[in-house]
Symmetry: C2
Subunit: 426 residues, 2 copies
C-alpha cells in the first residue's frame, strides 16, 4: 500500500486496514492505519471528512479514502488527508498488550501466550515477513541452479537420524514416527532429479528446553549429485546464502529497517577441521576424546572467525567418522574422519552437511561399523543398490538462520507459533 501512496502524491488513494493508533487532538485526529506491511498515518478533520469518527477505536477495521500529502517528519514521509472513513469490522475486546508503540514491552512467554495479539505489533510481524524473504530467496536460488523441489512424507516408519529424539504416533495400529529430516528421500531423489531441495517441517523430540531448540522447525534442505567433494556443497551453500541476503536486501528493505537487521556481507568463509578446532579451543586437553562441539565451543569459534577473519561464518569440517550420521562418507585420507561439516553463523550451528556415501557396499559396511543393522534400512539402501552418483547436501534450520540474522537470543522469537517441551499452544 505504501508504494501505491508514494506513487500517488497529491492524489486520492483508497485502502483498508486496521486502526493501529488514534491520537485525538479535538478538531483533528491522527489515525494510524496498519496495512499488510506498513503503518500509515491518516489525518482526520471534520471539515474535510464526510464521515464521523465517533466511537472509532483502536483495533477496528476501516476503509479509508484521502489525498496523499508529503510529511517529512513521518516515518514514511507522507500522510493521508481523509475524505472518508468507513467502518468494516469491530472487536469484542481490547488487546491485552500494547502493540502500537515500537517494540512489545513484555516477556517472551507473554508474547507467545498471546500470539493472536502480539503478532499485530509491526516489529513482531516484520520478523515473519523477513522469514518469508529467506524462503523466497532460497526458492529463487535453487530454481536458478536446477534444483527440483520435492515433498517427502513426514510420517515415516523410521527416522533419518535415529536415536531417542523422535516423536512416535499411532498409525492405524502401527507404530510410526515424525521424520527428523528428509535425508533418505533427498538421497533417493538425487538418482532421478540430480539436484533436489525441500522446505518443510522437521521434528525433533528434544527433551531439553534451550534457547536454541524448538521441537518443530522448518528445514531448508538440499542435496546435489555429481559432486567432486563436500567442498562443492559448501560452495553452493555460500552462494545460496549470498543470494538470499541479496534478495532480502532488495525486497524486504522496510522490514530490515524496522528490525534493525544486520545483514552480513559474505566474503571468504573460513574453514577449520574439527580436530584443529578442538585443539584451538582446549589445547591438548580433551582433543581426541570429544566427538562434537558444545554450545560454548560454537560461541568461541564464532569469536575466533570474527577476530581472525572478520567473518560472521565459519565451517567446521571432518568430524569423527565414528559419530553419526551413518550416511557420512569417511575421508579417503584418514578414515577416522568423515566428510561432514557444520556451518556456524555468529557462533551458532545453523547447518549440518557433507558428502554422503553413494556406494552400496560402503554404506552397508559403515552401518555395521556403527552397530546398525542394514536390514533395518532396506528401503533406503535400495537407492544405493540400484546406483547413486556421488552426492552431498545439507540442512539449514530456518528459525536459527533468522535468529542469528536478527541477533536474537531465543529461537522462539523467530518461530511464528513455536513448539517446545512446554508449549503446544496457540
Amino acid at each position: 500500500m505504501l508504494a501505491d501512496a508514494k506513487a500517488n502524491m497529491g492524489k486520492e488513494v483508497e485502502f483498508s486496514g486496521c486502526v493501529h493508533r488514534i491520537k485525538n487532538m479535538g478538531s483533528i485526529a491522527f489515525i494510524v492505519v496498519r496495512t499488510s506491511r506498513d503503518v500509515i498515518q491518516t489525518v482526520y478533520s471534520a471539515d474535510n471528512c464526510k464521515d464521523s469518527i465517533e466511537g472509532l477505536r483502536e483495533g477496528f477495521f476501516v476503509n479509508v479514502k484521502g489525498i496523499v500529502k508529503e510529511n517529512p517528519k513521518d516515518f514514511n514521509g507522507l500522510e493521508i488527508e481523509l475524505d472518508s472513513i468507513k467502518l468494516i469490522s469491530t472487536n469484542a475486546a481490547e488487546l491485552p498488550l500494547k502493540i502500537s508503540q515500537g517494540r512489545l514491552n513484555c516477556t517472551i512467554e507473554v508474547n507467545l501466550d498471546n500470539r493472536a495479539a502480539s503478532l499485530r505489533n509491526p516489529y513482531e510481524r516484520a520478523i515473519f515477513k523477513l522469514q518469508e524473504g529467506l524462503v523466497q530467496g532460497m526458492h529463487k536460488f535453487m530454481q536458478a541452479n536446477n534444483f527440483t523441489e520435492i515433498h517427502s512424507p513426514k510420517i515415516v516408519a523410521q527416522g533419518a537420524e535415529g536415536g531417542a529424539n523422535i516423536f512416535r504416533l499411532d498409525y492405524f495400529g502401527k507404530s510410526a514416527f515424525l521424520n527428523q529430516s528428509p535425508q533418505f528421500y533427498k538421497q533417493m531423489a538425487v538418482a532421478f532429479f540430480d539436484r533436489v531441495y525441500e522446505i518443510a517441517p522437521v521434528y525433533r523430540a528434544e527433551k531439553h528446553a534451550t534457547s536454541r531448540h524448538i521441537n518443530e522447525y522448518i528445514g531448508l534442505d538440499f542435496e546435489m549429485g555429481y559432486i567432486d567433494s563436500m567442498y562443492d556443497v559448501m560452495k553452493m551453500e555460500i552462494a545460496m546464502l549470498k543470494s538470499i541476503f541479496e534478495y532480502i536486501k532488495e525486497n524486504y528493505q522496510n522490514e530490515l529497517k524496522i528490525l534493525e537487521a544486520d545483514v552480513p556481507e559474505i566474503k571468504e568463509v573460513p574453514s577449520i577441521k574439527f580436530a584443529d578446532a578442538i585443539e584451538l579451543l582446549r589445547g591438548g586437553e580433551g582433543s581426541g576424546k570429544k566427538f562434537d562441539l558444545d554450545p560454548e565451543d560454537e560461541v568461541n569459534l564464532g569469536k575466533y572467525a570474527k577476530e581472525k577473519y572478520d567473518s560472521d561464518f565459519i565451517f567446521v569440517t571432518h568430524f569423527p567418522s565414528s559419530k553419526p550420521p551413518f550416511y557420512a562418507m569417511n575421508s579417503r585420507e584418514d578414515p577416522r574422519e568423515a566428510y561432514k561439516f557444520d556451518l556456524l553463523f555468529r557462533g551458532l550451528e545453523i547447518t549440518s552437511g557433507g558428502q554422503r556415501i553413494h556406494d552400496y557396499n560402503e554404506q552397508v559396511e559403515k552401518m555395521k561399523a556403527q552397530g546398525l543393522d542394514p536390514d533395518d534400512f532396506k528401503n533406503y539402501l535400495e537407492a544405493h543398490k540400484y546406483g547413486l552418483p556421488p552426492h552431498g547436501g545439507l540442512g539449514i534450520g530456518l528459525e536459527r538462520l533468522l535468529m542469528k540474522l536478527l541477533n536474537k537470543n531465543n529461537i522462539r522469537e523467530t518461530s511464528l507459533f513455536p513448539r517446545d517441551i512446554n508449549r503446544l499452544l496457540p
Copy 2:
C-alpha cells in the same frame, strides 16, 4: 542440459548423467544418458571416443564429452558424438523394473513398493517435476498478489476440522495431534498480514482406502482479508489456477509433452448452489436431506459442467449451514445455508473454501449451534475477540489437482511417497 546442447549445435558439450539405455551395434553403440529433466542420445564409436565402454552397464553414472549433432529422428532432434566417457559410479544390482522404455509396465503397488527404482522412469519423474511447477506457479501468483507465506505448526493441541479423522501423538506425555489444515493459523494471520498462504503437509486419518484419499498430502492454502463476499475468494482461485496453468505451459513444456497432459483453458467457471445441484442430480428425492456431495454426485456434476458449459471446473456453493465447518459464515439471505463452496475439477472436489465468520459473538453462537463448546477454542477465538476483518480462503489438495490434470485414476500416482492406511514405506 538439453537446452545447453541445443544452443551448442556442432560444438563440444560436457555433462554427467545416468546410463539409461545401451544399444550396442558392434562397431558403434547408442548410449542414452539420463540427466535431471532429459534423456539424451549419445553415439559411441571406437574411432571417435578415446575411452572404452567395455563393462559399461545400464544404471551406471558417467561423465561424457562430445560434439552435438542434429538428428531429426531423435525425440530431442539431436545426439552427442562421444569424444570421451568416464565412469563416475556403478550399481550393486540391476533395477527390478524396466524403466527405460516409455511407461512402466507394472501395477501401482509394484511401482510404489519400488519407488527408488520406479521414479527413475522418465514418465514417473515427470509427474513430480510438473508437481513442482504447480507449486512454483502458486508462489509466483501469491507473491504478485501481496500474499505473505507463513509456516504454521503441524503438531497441535487441537485439529482444525475436529472429528475422528485425526492422528494422535504423544507429546512429552501430553496428547497432541497432527493438524488437519492450517485454518486457525491462517485466520489469525489475516489480522496482521491481510493475505496469507501456506504450502505444507496436511494430515487426515481417513480409515478408508479410496483412490482419492491419502493420509498425508500437500495443502495449498490461502486466506484473504477485506473481502466483500466469498465470490472474491472464488475469483482469486480462478485467477490463480489460470496463472499456474500458464506458468507450467511456459516452463514445463517438456514434462507436459512426456505426460501427454491436457491442461484446460479456463474460461468462465459455472457455479451452482448445493440445493440446486441436489435437485438437478436427484430431482425431488433426497433434496433437503443430503448434507454433502458423494463421489458419484461429483462425477455427475463434472459431466454436467462439461456438457452444458464446456467447463472442466464447476463451483458448488451455499452448503447447509448445519454442517461443518463451524467457521463458515451463514448466509445473510437464508441462514440455513453457509457461504461455503467447493470447486470440482473434472468431477472431483479439489477445493473447499468460503467466507469465514469474523465477528466474535457470531462465531461463538455458531459453535454452540453446532454443539461445540467455545471454551475448547479459546486460543483460536482470541483472533476474533481482538478483531478480524471480513475474510475468506480455501485449501487445494496438490495431489488431487495434479491427479485430475493428468487424468489419473488414483491419487497415489501423484504423490512422491504416498501414505495410506496400508502404506508407510518407503
